[in-house]
């Protein structure tokens, strides 16, 4: 197998085929990362394509002090965060703004999609259930979970990719996992209760 570094060098020299090998190597991880960030396959597709395109365009500025893997994850994480930031901005506006109707203004009804007991029945796939848990986390916590639980990265790699200290990575990951654990326990109790009722 040709090492990543060598392929990167060839891409810098204008060899597009070497980039194709890198895409082949990392498309699954990048796609999954984007999927876990956004929770849907259409956005994951677009964002992971965008990440690779950015990498290709910026490859000359990549100094190869870090591994290509770290670099492409760094780009993917930024592309996804940017996307979520914009999406959240939109969401915040739509949550805060009252709806204008002919009879005057009315408040929007926001439902919590994660914890409603009737929702639990609906969630058939474990993957979807887990995704709904991740999606309920604030962005800063979501990303450490994505990198650690799905990409299995080390604390050092996470600190490089997210551009924050090891201490921040540790405390964010701990808090994120505690938040997930609370949800996990609550849902488990609810589903046990429902199982008993069915019996």
């Amino acid at each position: 197998m040709i090492p990543d570094d060598l392929l990167v060098q060839k891409v810098k020299e204008g060899h597009l085929e070497s980039f194709e090998v890198l895409v082949e190597r990392y498309q699954k991880q990048v796609y999954n990362m984007a999927y876990r960030y956004t929770g849907n396959s259409e956005d994951a597709y677009d964002l992971s394509q965008e990440a690779f395109i950015k990498a290709y365009k910026g490859i000359k500025s990549f100094r190869q002090e870090a591994a290509f893997k770290t670099w492409i994850y760094h780009i993917t994480s930024n592309v996804c965060k940017d996307f979520l930031r914009k999406a959240n901005k939109y969401k915040e506006v739509s949550i805060d703004a009252p709806i204008h109707t002919e009879e005057g203004e009315m408040e929007k009804q926001i439902t919590d999609r994660v914890n409603g007991p009737e929702e639990i029945y609906e969630i058939k796939e474990l993957s979807e259930f887990i995704q709904s848990m991740i999606s309920s986390l604030p962005n800063d916590y979501r990303e450490v979970i994505v990198l650690r639980e799905f990409q299995q990265l080390s604390y050092e790699e996470m600190s490089d990719i997210l551009d924050c200290s090891l201490g921040t990575v540790k405390s964010r990951l701990n808090r994120a996992r505690n938040m997930l654990k609370e949800k996990f326990i609550r849902v488990r109790e609810q589903s046990n209760m429902q199982l008993r009722q069915i019996r």
């Binding site: 940017d82 993957s127 996992r177 505690n178």
Partner: protein, 344 residues
């Protein structure tokens, strides 16, 4: 250890990130506290559940579609936007390569003095400065530097820069003829040749080296998208980098190119108020100081910088070097330099 403290260490314990002492305290508490033990088990169960999720396969057309898009990019990237400027730029790159070779050969003469001479030598392409250079008697007589001899044709025709730099075009430098082009002649008197240029003279010259710059502050809702559009406009006569609150593009276009400004304005959703233009000057000497400071910061062994910080410094250095490389050309009558800040 309290239960609250235990909560804060659960995740680190699972990942074996605690030191020996912490671990001992943690396990001691765990043996005594049923609730904390339960918390740990819950978290482990949850993580097991996460680990059981299989990774998704990207859609079958993912790679082919991406490569098709990149092939489009690849083609576009090959076509220079402004042929004339692109040519000049390419010749500068060739200059850089030639300079590198000469630096190795010169050895003891010292890099900074040599670079000064290169920069001053290139500067001589601008008629105005060429005049003042003659007055000081430093540029035209390369023997004073004792470093290299520049073929006559490289300074012969100041009105057409592409031919003036023709001797250094990559095509010619790359082939076997390269040996006929500027190369080092190691002076007998070592670095003493440089002494003839007093620091004051040098200072005076470098102060004269500046470029008039236009800074555009561009407000937009889509930073990345706008940046891409502007970079597409400028093609290979641009360099871009990201600062904390904005993306920045440095680029040069042909002097008084009204189309470019119009195009920039048209990107701002038909609202010209989104574009602010500030005219200022870039000084050569200050750029050099900045370059040296950046080099020092990057190479400082005591400075334990993170990956991202290093990347930012490297990028800044690249931008400064790019400016240093191009500034004499920008100062010529051919091009305007734009510094475009894209903010939200």
């Amino acid at each position: 250890m309290t239960c609250q403290q235990m909560q804060e260490l659960l995740s680190l314990y699972i990942d074996e990130q605690l030191n020996e002492v912490e671990k001992q305290y943690f396990e001691k508490h765990l043996a005594e506290c049923r609730q904390c033990k339960q918390e740990l088990e819950d978290m482990q169960d949850m993580l097991k559940m996460f680990a059981s999720v299989e990774a998704l396969e990207p859609p079958a057309d993912f790679k082919d579609n991406l490569m098709r898009r990149l092939k489009g990019e690849h083609k576009v990237a090959q076509v220079p936007y402004r042929t004339k400027l692109a040519k000049i730029k390419r010749s500068w790159i060739a200059w850089g390569a030639t300079a590198a070779v000469i630096v190795i050969m010169v050895g003891s003469v010292g890099l900074s003095g040599f670079m000064d001479s290169i920069n001053l030598g290139l500067k001589s392409e601008s008629p105005a400065v060429k005049e003042s250079a003659k007055d000081n008697g430093i540029v035209q007589d390369e023997q004073q530097f004792g470093i290299m001899s520049i073929p006559e044709k490289s300074t012969a025709d100041t009105s057409t820069p592409e031919t003036a730099y023709g001797a250094f075009s990559p095509e010619r430098a790359a082939d076997g003829e390269a040996k006929d082009y500027p190369r080092a002649t190691v002076p007998n008197n070592g670095s003493r040749g440089l002494d003839k240029l007093s620091p004051d003279d040098l200072q005076e010259h470098e102060e004269a080296l500046f470029a008039t710059n236009q800074k555009i502050i561009f407000h937009t809702d889509a930073i990345d998208e706008t940046q891409q559009k502007i970079v597409d406009l400028l093609k290979d006569s641009a360099i871009n980098y990201i600062k904390v609150n904005s993306n920045v593009i440095l680029g040069f276009v042909e002097r008084n190119n009204a189309d470019f400004l119009e195009e920039i304005k048209s990107l701002s959703q038909n609202n010209e108020e989104n574009v602010e233009i500030v005219v200022y000057e870039v000084e050569f000497q200050k750029l050099k100081e900045k370059r040296d400071a950046l080099l020092k910061a990057i190479n400082d062994p005591n400075n334990n910088q993170g990956y991202e910080r290093k990347r930012i410094l490297q990028r800044e250095l690249e931008v400064v070097k790019w400016q240093l490389e191009n500034i004499t050309e920008i100062d010529s009558d051919d091009a305007d330099l734009f510094e475009i800040y894209i903010t939200e």
